[in-house]
Symmetry: D2
Subunit: 314 residues, 4 copies
Amino acid sequence: MSASRYTYLGPEGTFTEAALRTLPEAATRELVPMVSVPTALDAVRGGEAAAALVPIENSVEGGVTATLDELATGEPLMIYREVLLDIAFALLVRPGTALGDIKTVTGHPVAQPQVRNWLAANLPEAVWESAASNADGARLVQEGRYDAAFAGEFAAPTYGLQPLVTDIHDARTAQTRFVLVGRPARPAARSGADRTSLVIWLGDDHPGALLELLQEFAARGVNMMRIESRPTGEGIGRYCFSVDCEGHITDRRVGEALMGLKRICPKVRFLGSYPRAGVDASDPAVRGELRPGTSDSEFEAAADWLARCQDGRG
Amino acid sequence: MSASRYTYLGPEGTFTEAALRTLPEAATRELVPMVSVPTALDAVRGGEAAAALVPIENSVEGGVTATLDELATGEPLMIYREVLLDIAFALLVRPGTALGDIKTVTGHPVAQPQVRNWLAANLPEAVWESAASNADGARLVQEGRYDAAFAGEFAAPTYGLQPLVTDIHDARTAQTRFVLVGRPARPAARSGADRTSLVIWLGDDHPGALLELLQEFAARGVNMMRIESRPTGEGIGRYCFSVDCEGHITDRRVGEALMGLKRICPKVRFLGSYPRAGVDASDPAVRGELRPGTSDSEFEAAADWLARCQDGRG
Amino acid sequence: MSASRYTYLGPEGTFTEAALRTLPEAATRELVPMVSVPTALDAVRGGEAAAALVPIENSVEGGVTATLDELATGEPLMIYREVLLDIAFALLVRPGTALGDIKTVTGHPVAQPQVRNWLAANLPEAVWESAASNADGARLVQEGRYDAAFAGEFAAPTYGLQPLVTDIHDARTAQTRFVLVGRPARPAARSGADRTSLVIWLGDDHPGALLELLQEFAARGVNMMRIESRPTGEGIGRYCFSVDCEGHITDRRVGEALMGLKRICPKVRFLGSYPRAGVDASDPAVRGELRPGTSDSEFEAAADWLARCQDGRG
Amino acid sequence: MSASRYTYLGPEGTFTEAALRTLPEAATRELVPMVSVPTALDAVRGGEAAAALVPIENSVEGGVTATLDELATGEPLMIYREVLLDIAFALLVRPGTALGDIKTVTGHPVAQPQVRNWLAANLPEAVWESAASNADGARLVQEGRYDAAFAGEFAAPTYGLQPLVTDIHDARTAQTRFVLVGRPARPAARSGADRTSLVIWLGDDHPGALLELLQEFAARGVNMMRIESRPTGEGIGRYCFSVDCEGHITDRRVGEALMGLKRICPKVRFLGSYPRAGVDASDPAVRGELRPGTSDSEFEAAADWLARCQDGRG
């Protein structure tokens, strides 16, 4: 029964699985690893799964382009949750392998920049070859094709490996953000500390179009949290923009900004409003970020005033 | 009965009276000249008159500060009509006076810059002294205090004078704009070529406040037609702004801009939306001025889209 | 000898004369009253006077349009100093006149809004008639044409009058700003708390032109202190802008903003950079107003960096 | 001798090699394939090579993050040339292999989205596994590990393979842009149709910082051609921006924009100004893109005017 099934970017033992297991509802769902982001999302589109968890952004490697591009195109999907996970690698080896024995290492291409410095310092002679995923690298070590794999420590037992070194990461705060994606429905309820995700196509490529896009947000005091250009496939120099802004689509300032975008851009895709992970909505500092004049109550007072003016009771 | 009475900036024979008589309804109203703009407007405030016609802007002398300041302060009033009048002066003299006899001339201070060049060329020795109005200057000539007065040619018979020279004006296109002011009620109906008038007070005087004000208009593609700073009386460097923008308060783009102003400015006074004089609302060039994405239908389409997104039908 | 002669807006006994006498150099100059702002300035243009002091802005009545328009047109002039003067009126009468005797009052039209409330409260029946200047009003009282004149208390002895009531003013902080105007030469030295005055004509009247003008200032962190629209004489809706910004033309940020204006506007007239009156240049609060990234040293560091990049030493 | 040596992203047979061979000077250089973008660039940093050719942007897959990040960090490098190459894949197989024999395919991860549709239509059952490069995939086919590899047709002979299908690409206009990178020196001469590359770090992460960055360009009429956010490694939500704008660092408008960025951003890295590939600098359409007021001659006229004003000759 699909409502009880969640797909995720597999195989078993990836950071994505670890992220998925932080969700309380994961305990009662059938969790199905998929070989790629597109297949994980297509299972949702096709109704075989209720939702999919996929990585969208890494603090070292940046946006996960497969996810960004899948969400931007094809049948629409929506984001309902986000999960933040600290990323630290373990060097997984077959039992008995010592550091000096390692000639070849593998891992997901995304892992490489995060372990680059550690490799240069500790295994300068080792040859790196990319694997399709960190867990896949672990499997290839199990099969003997490589001597060691970088993966999450939690992947070791699945592949009969041992963590030789743990907590390897170059950047102090390496994190990956994952999103739980489903078919379009009513957005998650407003928490007070929300994120709204969009994909925006600019028009006839006039030079100031990006500036105009940002001004639609700025004019309503809506803060941009993330912006990534992605090629539209129509040639070098043609981009669409994957954008996150703070706030919820039911916040008046966010709604007005979205309508402004919709009017000036040939295409806008709403990808969801959902609670920001790692942020406490009851923290006054989070609520206090609003620019004066952009709260819902100020929007409503201004709308009342406008109605009074239109009626001659200004 | 006050509903049938209109006041205007008198005395009889001023350009204001001439402007008032261009309104069809003037034929059926009692037209009462008042000694000043404040008294003309106070008669409306007090209910003794239904409306007042007063000058607000002259193409040579600029804004009529008495009108701007009266509309900005005191009990609120609203503008329902505007009238544009070409301004040309006649030199009025007592019968028998020749150009060579003229040693002293008078007229309203506003007239002076418009006849300055003519005076320098034709009566370089004549001494100018200001009168309270052009018509008042005519009266003072009638009484013999001055030799000649600049006024509208139509004022001559009222004061038993003769127009010695007519069609005097320095700037080729001298015009005055007058407004018909009443107590606040529902604005004039939208004509498709409208003007909306406001007075806007800026906040705690931070340097970028004026720029922010203009951006509220620009963000919605609403064109500014006129902006005048007026002192608030709180000291050098403290201003409020008398602003006209194109469009009607019931235009969606104008309404959103006004709400934006209301949210960021400590005080906004709506002075009315009314048809632009001298402009044909059915002219495609007038209608075609809209920036893409700012028509009512585009606003409505964007609002529909937002509602669909909020409902999960994006 | 013209170098020793200063003209001012007369006649003797005006606030302008009082402002002029606050300048130390006034003690060693011949001070010549003129009948109007244009004649005072034309004496400078013609070389009969080294400089002229004229009012430019009043905290109650706003810009002095005769001065603004004279500086905007005709042979160029430049501002070298400004003087701020508190404005309080005295009611001047012939010796022996009591308040109850006063049926007619006079004064400059600019004085009227400043004494309006006082008149309504104290002489509600008195008829106001405008005079060419406050001092001229005093002269007309001396001649017996009016019963009382509003003027500066200092004007009383000149006209053989007595101040019946003193310190009359509606707005608590009524002030007039005067400027000392000469022929164009090197601007006044930078004081650290300066004002730069400009007249700016916008181009083909496209709707966003005023916004673009303001953005040239904003882009360089230059604060606008005053902006007044003035008609160009080419018809209703055609304006030029009289603008003051903070800073000196030799400040790098001001220079870059001025060059930006010069490039986008069909005409810019530089009217001078001069010390702000009533401001202490050594006050850290005044110096601290600069936006980060806009000091001269930051401009110079950025220029050095650019040169290094252009030379391949980035 | 290093001056005669160019490195490139190898191995032999990659699109990068094909792009490099389009440069006339390549005929007289020793061309050395390197295993990765970092090693290709480090050879330049270390002086073992005069320059390196690396891919920077693909019209389907977007920015090449290894290149963007290497140019943003470490010892500074500079871009002197760009090359645009149309990307079409061939399916390379060992002689004798038929389409029906293919169970496993490989190629660079960047190739996958470009051949995804072709695979789904023609080899729906084939399993994809990523290789370190397209050429590396060819080598693995040669070694028998996979049945087929996607790579440039030109790579076939190097690895003893045959192109079974050619001209495979999903997006009609698939192109890759490559850059020739050397140690910092004087930029390439201005061609009249140039591109300037920068990396820009924003300050204390205030919400409007990106808008301010774009406004420094917009204020000088400098068009943005490309913008990519890249994580700084300091955590989710912390980005720097890889930016290309049109124009050359010796264009006055570009220089002023760069100085503006330098003043407001904590760090700006200039990566070079160089001729745009695929654009004819003598084409009036290219030269005509300039916004009025932003040509060098207008900048110089404005600078002359400013100097005259500062000298009192305004």
